[in-house]
């Protein structure tokens, strides 16, 4: 779906505000891929991700009357996603251990390269799950097509430099967590 121009975005928001259900459905259709991908990558549980993504659109619906249009609609939606993801993770600590998975992998003695890649991807997901929520969100957003550093910075209300630093630190932690597999 092509990105909306500022005027088209304003028109869509106005239609939604006027109670046009078709317009809100259009908004959901337009942003659902990005919202779901961002949440699913951060939460890493599809059913929870769907529930949370629907909750985001409910918050968007409730918040539209108060949306002043100072930021782009997409940035405002990212901000809601970021809040939802961070609230979801507050107080929860990742429980998956890479070491447990590693020993299980060795025990099966897998030599096949394809399976090795799959295993590495699985380890990557588990390593990401061990990152602090802020880092996880930044990693999730940065590697989604169409999301710029500026969007992340605005959504998280952080300076651009801080976002870049957080991203580099997140990747540094990932590299350390995956050190053995990458050797």
């Amino acid at each position: 779906m092509d990105p909306l121009t500022a005027a088209a975005e304003r028109a869509l928001v106005e239609r939604c505000r006027a109670g046009d259900e078709q317009a809100f459905q259009e908004l959901v259709d337009r942003y659902k891929d990005l919202v779901f991908a961002l949440i699913a990558r951060t939460v890493q549980d599809r059913s929870r991700a769907e529930d949370l993504a629907q909750d985001v659109f409910l918050r968007v619906h409730r918040g539209l009357p108060y949306f002043r249009g100072e930021a782009r609609l997409s940035t405002w939606i990212y901000r809601i996603v970021a809040n939802a993801c961070l609230q979801q993770h507050s107080g929860s600590t990742p429980t998956t251990s890479l070491d447990d998975e590693r020993s299980r992998g060795r025990a099966t003695g897998v030599a096949d390269r394809q399976f090795g890649d799959f295993e590495l991807r699985d380890r990557l997901e588990k390593a990401i799950a061990r990152l602090p929520p802020h880092y996880r969100l930044v990693i999730a957003a940065h590697y989604l097509q169409g999301v710029q550093y500026e969007d992340i910075a605005e959504a998280l209300d952080l300076p651009l430099g801080t976002v870049k630093t957080q991203l580099h630190r997140a990747k540094q932690q990932l590299r350390r967590l995956l050190e053995t597999e990458l050797k």
């Binding site: 809100f24 991700a49 619906h61 097509q145 580099h168 590299r175």
Partner: protein, 161 residues
Amino acid sequence: MYCDEALDAVEAVAAGDLAPDGRLADHFATCPNCSGALKQARAVEQMLRERPVPSPPPQFTARAMTRVRRARWRSDQVLDIGFNVAIAAVVVAIVIGVWIVMRRSGLGVVGVDAADMVARGLVVLAQRVGPSLPLYGAATALLATALGLWWWAERDTSSIG
């Protein structure tokens, strides 16, 4: 250059955010530890770029819209209940206000007399109408039947047309 400095820059170099200058490039070329870290950072970068993008389920929009409608219905219900409670509170306040005014101004006695008069009038009306009640009932039933037949005939004609 120390390894600490080079290791801090590894992720930025791997992502292409930082082009290694002469000193940094020389260090990566001569230090096996840092060049190994750079290789690993590039591998992480590659894996992150190739990470599959999760897609929402096909019924996502419909489910989201159902949730939005349900939430709106609930908030409408709350609004309706609030409005009805407010109306009831106003009516009760008016009744209590009128009662207080009547008590203080002595109109309460007049009010009781008026209520007695209306009650007596209703009793007289019932006594007069009572004997003719079956007749009135039959007339009403006849009228209702006639109106029902007329309505049925009209409905039938319109459905054919």
